[in-house]
Symmetry: D2
Subunit: 404 residues, 4 copies
Amino acid sequence: MPNTGLWMIGARGGVATTAIVGLAALRRELIPPIGLVSDLEPFRSINLAGWDQLVIGGHEIRTASLASQALLLADSSRAIDRRIVEQCRPDLDETDLEIRPGTVRNGGTAIESVADPGFPIPSRTVLETVRQIQADWSGFCVRKNLQRMVVVNVASTEPRNTSGEPLPDTWTAMESRLDDPGFSLPPSVVYALAAIDAGHSYVNFTPSTGSDLPALRELALARGVCHVGRDAKTGETLLKSVLAPMFAHRNLDVMSWVGHNIIGNMDGQVLNDPANKATKVASKDHLLREILGYSPQSHVSIEYIRSLGDWKTAWDHIHFRGFLGTPMTMQFTWQGCDSILAAPLVLDLARFTELAARRGEAGEMGWLSCFFKSPQGTDEHDFSKQFAMLCDWARQPEHAPRTI
Amino acid sequence: MPNTGLWMIGARGGVATTAIVGLAALRRELIPPIGLVSDLEPFRSINLAGWDQLVIGGHEIRTASLASQALLLADSSRAIDRRIVEQCRPDLDETDLEIRPGTVRNGGTAIESVADPGFPIPSRTVLETVRQIQADWSGFCVRKNLQRMVVVNVASTEPRNTSGEPLPDTWTAMESRLDDPGFSLPPSVVYALAAIDAGHSYVNFTPSTGSDLPALRELALARGVCHVGRDAKTGETLLKSVLAPMFAHRNLDVMSWVGHNIIGNMDGQVLNDPANKATKVASKDHLLREILGYSPQSHVSIEYIRSLGDWKTAWDHIHFRGFLGTPMTMQFTWQGCDSILAAPLVLDLARFTELAARRGEAGEMGWLSCFFKSPQGTDEHDFSKQFAMLCDWARQPEHAPRTI
Amino acid sequence: MPNTGLWMIGARGGVATTAIVGLAALRRELIPPIGLVSDLEPFRSINLAGWDQLVIGGHEIRTASLASQALLLADSSRAIDRRIVEQCRPDLDETDLEIRPGTVRNGGTAIESVADPGFPIPSRTVLETVRQIQADWSGFCVRKNLQRMVVVNVASTEPRNTSGEPLPDTWTAMESRLDDPGFSLPPSVVYALAAIDAGHSYVNFTPSTGSDLPALRELALARGVCHVGRDAKTGETLLKSVLAPMFAHRNLDVMSWVGHNIIGNMDGQVLNDPANKATKVASKDHLLREILGYSPQSHVSIEYIRSLGDWKTAWDHIHFRGFLGTPMTMQFTWQGCDSILAAPLVLDLARFTELAARRGEAGEMGWLSCFFKSPQGTDEHDFSKQFAMLCDWARQPEHAPRTI
Amino acid sequence: MPNTGLWMIGARGGVATTAIVGLAALRRELIPPIGLVSDLEPFRSINLAGWDQLVIGGHEIRTASLASQALLLADSSRAIDRRIVEQCRPDLDETDLEIRPGTVRNGGTAIESVADPGFPIPSRTVLETVRQIQADWSGFCVRKNLQRMVVVNVASTEPRNTSGEPLPDTWTAMESRLDDPGFSLPPSVVYALAAIDAGHSYVNFTPSTGSDLPALRELALARGVCHVGRDAKTGETLLKSVLAPMFAHRNLDVMSWVGHNIIGNMDGQVLNDPANKATKVASKDHLLREILGYSPQSHVSIEYIRSLGDWKTAWDHIHFRGFLGTPMTMQFTWQGCDSILAAPLVLDLARFTELAARRGEAGEMGWLSCFFKSPQGTDEHDFSKQFAMLCDWARQPEHAPRTI
């Protein structure tokens, strides 16, 4: 099987860096495959790409090396064992060569402020930006001899609305504006458009818009491209999608569900900007209604607490009524390392998506909903049912182990 | 549809008292059906018995009235709204007339110590006890004109091993010993045997042995009787069966799972006896292996803390490794009211079991596993899959709504 | 000893209602003196007013009876045992007769919105309002034959700044504006001014301004009146003032202290208005710097969660570095009943203040700092040192038990 | 000022290793003095020994090098930053040269099982063991040119009762038995006896008996030696001594206080032996009565959970009644690193004790009670009062900064 490209938007952020270190460590057999969904039993016998078949590239707006980012995660956050980073250093340095300047045009001031001066590609028309991005990909595919590539957005969350005017509803309407210097799109949409237009699969790991637009859904079907999003669930929302069904199945009346999240990495810093935070909170807050069938009072906060580094803590307080109206309480805390929880899912999504593309599937991959807070292509939010959808997909005859 | 008997062993304990108050309140439309699984949408259109078709009776070893027990739950534990108890008082007084002295023979010293002197029926041979119990039931069914009855064990937990010798493996072997004065059985087994032998459905809500014996499984099939157990899950174990699948489906490596339970009601007091506690802890501790496929270090404690009354708090600490081996932590607390959580499930189990019996089913009802810590008739411990089993059962054609 | 008046601003709020029920229950010996600081050993032998020497009156902007408010606390919030309310009902009805319409002029829209229409006294000049308030007090003192009265503000929190212009700095400047119809003062200041001017002791239980102004400090000394405030500490801030010294005394470096508060009573509802919330958060947030000597990153939130009723839960996450820079974490939850925690302190403060007034003390009572988040008259925030100040005050010779 | 010896019993355990790494890092100015009480402002101006005046030696029953133990803490437990260990490696190797085989005679099977075969000094009479230990010290003092030495016990906890017979009550009685081969003493007592007899100050950091015996108190006064203990408080018990006074000072009725501790280091492993655990639990459980003046129901557990390594988590559930009898709850979790919390206190105690000895003090140092769960020489358990005792000691004229 030929190699597959895994191209990350935000390639030196915590999630991407950890995915890159982890992939290197898996190849060198330094670590067991813990945290990787695609290594679970139901998926071992379908023909997913091997660790040594994934080739990494990416766009980024900061210049620091991958190794320095990885050591920061090791030393400041105690997120990664320093010895692993040291052993994988050659792989990190090699990957650095395939990281290109990205775009921040229209990404909001919080994102612009973390960009290294002069590094991002200058803003021109959307079309020029798209063509530059696609040129980066063409070069990468040629150099690495890749037949297929998956683009994954792991960049910081964009503000919710970046311009006053609504985005065009159809691909025709959108396409006609692309070379208008007065027209702009959020960066996540620009990358999604570029990927789908060029025939690359697209995965949106963040709450930003990405491909979740009628115009891009249309384009994806026209081009025969797989895509999915958005906002990987790795903590509080994952737990909501696991616990809310329990309350529903026991007919317990959830009166209020309060969730407070504190986090100290760059993701948290960007979310500290109210515009960017609104995008995230919206993504975390709607599934209760969809699982419970009613809307308990809910409150979600995210605060940037520097000292936590890459760690996040969620505290949730669930107030519910049982039989005879008696109020009771469940509380949980989730103390996780953001990059560690997210990174393996990037590798999983790349593998599942690559196989779907290889099999000729196209459009939104709703069967990947167990990975997302706001899954495209399905309304299912119950985690166990979402996971069953993934297993069902894997059990389809075309995924069966090949007999020789 | 004729009325159905719901006979509770331990009829004035917290769970039974709350179920009786709750049933009265449902009939009087004082409360909405919160906490009742059988009132959920998938089960509304099958032909379950209505609230006014259930007639209560029971065995008990204490003499205090139901109303006084209910007021204790209202005033000492703030578990039930006192106004509801006051409004339902006539129903409680009427039910008191159908509560008969129970047996404690062989139930362990902790249980014997809470019995009122002179109240339990005297110990004779097992057969005599069985016949006395069955006579109580016959009288009840005649007086109340009942066609069918479900016996539910909600008595305190028995010690794990009440005698040195193993229980007989077959019904033939067991039957031959029943009139031997030197032969004894744990009370939960005596009641289960009496129920099954008399053709009444049997539900074991507790960790005691009940019908979970080869001899009684054999008898149930011979008599065409439905039965199920054991140990209703209403808190920590329910959460384990909901959360453990999440760790499994994300391939997170659970290194240790520590659960500490504190409780202040009579159930807690009886469990304070190490012999009785061992039965309970065993029931709470095995599902991790069955869900995860491996055995993390686990620790479960239950402590009797007087001041909590009918309330219980579970604190669980789950230590797991993610990608790159990084350790992370989830903790939860569950602050629930024991009787409030358990009581509606008694009504649910009675309704589901009655319908199964009416339809002619027999043997262990594995499809009720979502209610139990150690479900009989199935090895499934994943709560969402267990709930799906219940829904599947309800969807069977014979449960479809009848057209007129 | 003659009787003493205890006049509450906000006399039918949760705190006042609970204090009134509690005082009645103490007099009727229905409850032990739990929660009352003034009943502790060091204060039993000084000559504090007895429970039957306190006579209650108050101002209020809502018309519902005390008994109905108390039953709401009993039934909706399970805060008070309903049987106690029923037994104390005659006292509540009698106290209702001494509750007069209050002022909301300038209290902000959140407070105005909870007032019953037509009930508050109409807005005129500040002076007229002051004279009306003082007339209410004169009548009360005459009717009840009181020699001394303590006014306690237990009304909802006001917005931080109610007008653009700064308040006058001196009593002379303030006095000259009182009959100017264009001049206004926050209600808490109006009541404080009225009390001090009339020679009544004044206690500000809330974060509102009250007597904490140079002009009123001046007036208090001129009139020889005791006063103190502000913002009784009963939960999260109490714990901060207890725990922060521990971190300081162990030289542990507090990097961040995050506190999230959820509450469901009217206090929470009023605090849901951002203007009113700002007053409260400011009051909760400054003591860390004063105890630790540096300012860790801190975050305090208060959210109104209806279902909690009179209950509040604080979750605090304290992230600190120890030896060798290793980060560690303490978390706590405080699940308290707001009115239950606060009400006894109202009675304590009335008793301590009355004795100070009887002894001829005047000005700010810094020795009562252990009761307050932002204590007037001292900068001490360490709870143990604050409590020692109270004990020292009680040990002064003039408080010694009188020999006969 | 001449150098001072700091001799640790259990010199390669987690606490000692961390103290040794930390002292080296302080000398090399790699870390700020966080976590060191003796570096707080009130103690900076008294004449405590400097970091470069402390010389380390110790007894140990295991042969692994200090550096390997430190790297284990860095890599397995993420307790210490690996880079610090690497930079301090020469100091660790040098200290290894001054670590001598210790005694395990009578220390219980759990302790014996962790000893390296053949390493501990063979069991003879107590007197011979004492003489061997004292000879180790003499050699150390001569080689290092030390005028004074503090012996600190940081070895694993011994079983509560190591022999059936009670220990002799007087020094005369004890002394007469020392060369009796049938007489034995717990190892902690043997070391304490050896230290005091040789005129070295003695600090018992553990719950073992150490110098807390009438016979050794007598000997210490006779020899003019300072000593103190026992069981350093670094987590749950520290918090109890901080929080219980708050409940007392608010007259809140603590009904129950439940504490569950989980820990994964060797200390936890030894405590897993029920005999050793009993010593520890007893030490953690008595202060509530002494602070509150009554005994709430209390429960303390310690469980060894391997995966936690050097980390420990305490979960405490405090159930209390407030005004009108309303029950409320405080819970906390303390997630600390055992060695990191304890190690700086070893250095603090050595410095304070050395100064006391230098000043000619003798006997039990009750003013060091803020460091201990079961302080010798005082009954004070309120942490803030204990800390005030330490400050008072430091303010004594003889500790004042010397003018030149």
